[in-house]
Each structure stands twice: as C-alpha cells, then as structure tokens.
C-alpha cells in the first residue's frame, strides 16, 4: 500500500534533490543540455558573485519580515475575532478570503493597487503624502512584497490560533482575574503560554514557507528595482531559466535547500525553550 507513495516520492521528490546536488558540480551547455564535471567551481562562483550579498540580505529581510509580521498579525487578528459579537463570523470570513485567491491573482490585485495611478497612489495623494512609486523604489518594493504575502496567508494562521485561543480553559483566566491580574498580564502570562505550541508551529511554518517565493516577485517587481527584491529562490529561477545557467542555479538551489534544513533543525532544537508544555 505504501509502494505508490514511496515510488512516486523517490522519483519526483528525493531523487531530484540528489540530482540537483549532482548538477551543481557540472557546467551545463544551455543549447545541448550536455554537462561537464567542474567540481566546486559553481560554489566558488557563489562565494564571489558580486550580486550575492544583496540577494542574501534581501532574503534575510524577507524571511524575517514574513515570519515576524505574519505571526504578530495572525495573533492580533485571532485575539480580535475571538469574541462572541454579532457579525463576528463575517469578519473571520473576510480575513480568510485572501487564502482562497490564487497567489498569481492576489499578486495582480496588489499590482493594480500599487502601480502608478493605482489605489494606493490616490490615497497617499489625498492625505498629502505625494505619490511614491511603490514598485520602483528600493525599500518600498520589498516592503510591498512582504505585506501582500503576509495578508495572503494570515487568515489560515488566524484560524489555527483562534482554535487554540478557544481551547484555553476559562477557569485558568478566571483564577488569574480573581487574583487581581490585569487583562494584559493574563494575556501574556496565562493565555500566550497556553497557546505557545500553536504559536511555535505557525512560526515554523511561516519561516520555512517564506523561502518559497516566486510568482509574487515575478509578477510584481521582476526582482527589481535593481536586485532589491531578488530573493534566493527567485535568483535560482533567474539563473536557470533566464540566464540558462543550470549548473550555477543548481548550486544555488542546493545552498537554499541546506539553508532551510539548517534553520529547521535549529528551530526544532530550540522548541523546548520557546514552548511551554504542560507535562514535563
């Protein structure tokens, strides 16, 4: 019964990773596809690639931005909608909607908002902020990509955290309240520790998932202006399919893979420090 899954996973999941690593040691002719073993030349090129510091810095800002903003916003929204108010279900649905929109479509929606003479242009003009060219200004373009990605995914994480919040026993909070603790203290010292396993999990998913960026960049900024929105995964695509250098792209893909594995391992090992478990 496992055979189909295992065979398929081996053929299209595991072997391609190893193939990527193997290809990273080759120089590949873009016209014939023939490859020639060149040892670690592609990795040496990585170390000296003049564009690399900016790509790595952009990737770092992007990953940190998505994780921190995504987690805080999801938590804030979960707390906001965790109330039995009339119409609250409508708001939960609204915050969830972007999760249903195809990422390509969601990106186009935001391009319409951000492009010159778009929605944001008119709002910032109306409040006297002038009209910055959101997609062609270095910091703003990266911030725009982060914001659109955070809004896209926040609904799912809100639902996860909302479920966790609703499972926190009321008598626990009640007891703290009777003892005279303020609502803020109750949130930080009772509620948050109780839901820390889910918060941790959402954080890990955001962190690992944030390395996977593609159509947002392709359709919104094309990696620019300059290289200011070129994250590592998009750089892999550019090298492989725009500059037709599959060998170098494979080396970058291998580095991306190892980077994610390393981060996942670090986060996983540190979970005991970050998560409060009731037992043990």
């Amino acid at each position: 019964m496992l055979t189909p899954q295992l065979l398929g996973f081996a053929a299209f999941g595991l072997v391609p990773i190893l193939q990527t690593m193997w290809l990273s040691l080759q120089q590949i002719n873009p016209y014939t596809g023939d490859s020639r073993y060149v040892g670690i030349a592609n990795y040496r090129r990585f170390a000296t690639d003049p564009g690399m510091p900016e790509v790595l810095r952009t990737t770092g800002i992007y990953v940190a931005g998505i994780t921190v903003l995504g987690l805080s916003l999801a938590l804030a929204l979960a707390v906001l909608v965790n109330h039995r108010l009339p119409g609250i279900q409508v708001f939960r649905t609204i915050f969830f909607l972007p999760a249903l929109v195809t990422l390509a479509a969601w990106t186009l929606v935001w391009r319409f908002v951000l492009q010159p003479q778009g929605l944001l242009d008119q709002i910032s003009g109306a409040v006297g902020l002038g009209s910055p060219d959101w997609l062609n200004t270095k910091g703003l373009a990266l911030a725009s990509v982060i914001v659109l990605q955070v809004l896209k995914g926040v609904g799912i994480n809100m639902v996860i955290l909302l479920a966790a919040l609703q499972a926190v026993p009321t008598d626990l909070k009640e007891a703290a309240y009777v003892e005279g603790a303020s609502r803020r203290r109750i949130f930080w010292h009772v509620t948050l520790p109780s839901i820390s396993p889910q918060v941790f999990m959402v954080g890990v998913l955001l962190l690992v998932g944030s390395f996977q960026v593609f159509e947002q960049i392709l359709l919104l900024t094309g990696g620019g202006p300059g290289r200011s929105t070129t994250v590592l995964s998009y750089y892999v695509y550019q090298q492989a399919f725009q500059y037709s250098d599959q060998g170098y792209a494979s080396a970058l893909a291998t580095i991306l893979f190892l980077l994610i594995m390393l981060l996942t391992a670090i986060v996983w090992l540190s979970r005991r420090r970050l998560v409060f478990y009731e037992s043990k």
């Binding site: 391609p16 908002v113 695509y237």
Partner: protein, 283 residues
C-alpha cells in the same frame, strides 16, 4: 453561557473599539478586491485612475477576456488537472496513510520522517532536474507533469499525513474484528476505514484542489502554448502588442479566476477551513 464570565465581560466602549478595529482591518482586506472589481468594469481609457464607480460600466470586458486569448481552454485545463490531482492524491494518500497508521512493519518511523521531510523542500530546489526529466520524457507542453508531480510530491505527502492522523483515531477493535473475520487489508480500508474518515477525505480534497489551482512555477517552466496554459499563467497574457497592457481586461480575468473559488468556499466553508488548517496544523 461562559462568555459572560467576569474575565470576558467588556464595557460598551471596549466593544465599540473592537468593531472599529475589525472594520479597519476588513477595509484593508476588501479594498483591493473592490478596486479589482471596479477596474474590471472600466473602459480601457479609464482603467487607471480614480473612477471608483465605472462610468460607463463595461460588461463587455468579460467577453474580451475569452476572445482575446483562449481563457476558456485555460479554465478547463486548470479544472481537469485539479480533478485528476485530487483523485490521484486521494488514492495514494489513503493507501499510504492507512499503511503508516495501521500496519506494523519495520522502518515505519523512518519512512514517516522521510515523507514529512519533503514538506520543507521548496519547488525551486527541484525544478531544474524535473525540467530536464520533462524534456527527456518529451512531456514539454503537456499536462502530464502537472498531474503526476504534485501527487508524488508535497501535496501527496500532506495528504498522506492528514489521512494517517485520521486513521489513527479509528477504534482498534473495529479493525481487529475485521482481521479476525478474515478480511484483507484493502477490503478493510475500502469497506470499513474510508467511510469512517469522510471529513478528512474532504479536507484532503480542499487542500489538494487549492494547491493544484495555485501552481505557477512548474506550469510556467513546462508549458509553451497558450492553449495549454493554466489559469494563473493565462492571467498575465493580457497585453496588446501595440497598445500595451490591457489592465481592465486583466482585472476582469483575475476577477473570474477568484469568484468560483470564493463561491465554493461560501458553500462549503467548514470543509475548507478544516482542510486548510489540518494540512498545516498536523503537518
């Protein structure tokens, strides 16, 4: 009702403040979508600009979506690819999930870890060898890889995990009793186990369908002709070679790609949320 307990009781002012915050957030989420809808009904000349209420309202834009390039084909392509990926994933993940949950055999734990580790692999890390495979197998510009790869890849893995969790909750006695009666494993799976985990099957379908509908990198790299494109790729084809981007038509196409999913969501909200959260919570 527990909600009226002391710690959760709030003043009218606090409730009002909460509504203000909720409405402010809702505006941020809905504003861009409203803007999209508005753009999709404007004339080409007014596509950019401040015309919130289109004047005149150009319903004809939605016809141009289909006449300018084969958008109908692209909708069909996306739909049938999605259906086949769902079907394949259901079969493969039920089998593997059942095996991982129910049958004792050596190496079970190791296989589970191996399978789960694929969750952390971004598509970009394997796209180059997969692209070379597609060329070697003469699958370029066909839908075969778009159906096969997800079933075998991340989507199938998440499905397997959701199904494994579901099968773990089945009472052991039911399975044991069937074993004693001499039922084979496949028979137990089809006749006894699957009917008991219907909600999880629905969750897998939702998760798989959305993921397939969303695919971008692989179709972009594997497909060549507009007739074979999927919807996400088709959305960026609305550009006239003389007059440039057709923003109003593109907005109409984008609206058309969003509406069916939202409509299905409103009909089956519970399954949707279960599917999306199970996929991420339990993974």
């Amino acid at each position: 009702m527990k909600a009226s307990s002391a710690v959760e009781r709030r003043s009218a002012a606090a409730t009002a403040a909460r509504y203000v915050a909720l409405v402010a957030c809702a505006v941020v989420f809905l504003g861009p979508l409203a803007w999209l809808l508005s753009m999709s009904l404007r004339t080409a000349a007014a596509a950019l600009g401040r015309q919130w209420i289109p004047n005149p309202v150009r319903w004809a834009n939605y016809a141009v979506v289909f006449s300018f390039q084969p958008f109908a084909n692209q909708l069909l392509n996306s739909a049938y690819i999605m259906a086949l990926v769902c079907l394949g994933t259901l079969v493969v993940s039920s089998l593997a999930g059942f095996a991982l949950a129910r049958i004792n055999f050596p190496g079970r734990g190791a296989i589970l870890i191996l399978v789960l580790s694929s969750l952390f692999i971004p598509a970009e890390t394997t796209i180059i060898p997969l692209y070379r495979d597609v060329i070697a197998l003469h699958w370029t510009d066909t839908h075969i890889p778009l159906i096969l790869f997800p079933i075998c890849g991340t989507v199938g893995v998440v499905g397997t995990f959701v199904m494994r969790q579901a099968f773990l909750t089945l009472p052991q006695e039911v399975i044991e009793a069937a074993r004693v009666d001499g039922a084979s494993w496949p028979r137990i799976l089809i006749r006894i186990a699957l009917p008991m985990v219907r909600p999880s099957l629905a969750a897998v379908v939702v998760l798989t369908a959305l993921s397939s509908w969303n695919q971008y990198l692989q179709p972009l790299v594997f497909l060549r002709s507009r007739q074979h494109f999927t919807v996400p790729l088709g959305l960026s084809q609305y550009s006239d070679q003389y007059t440039g981007p057709m923003y109003n038509i593109q907005a109409a196409a984008t609206t058309l790609s969003i509406l069916p999913v939202i409509a299905i969501f409103l009909l089956a909200q519970r399954q949707f949320i279960a599917g999306l959260t199970e996929g991420s919570v339990k993974a």
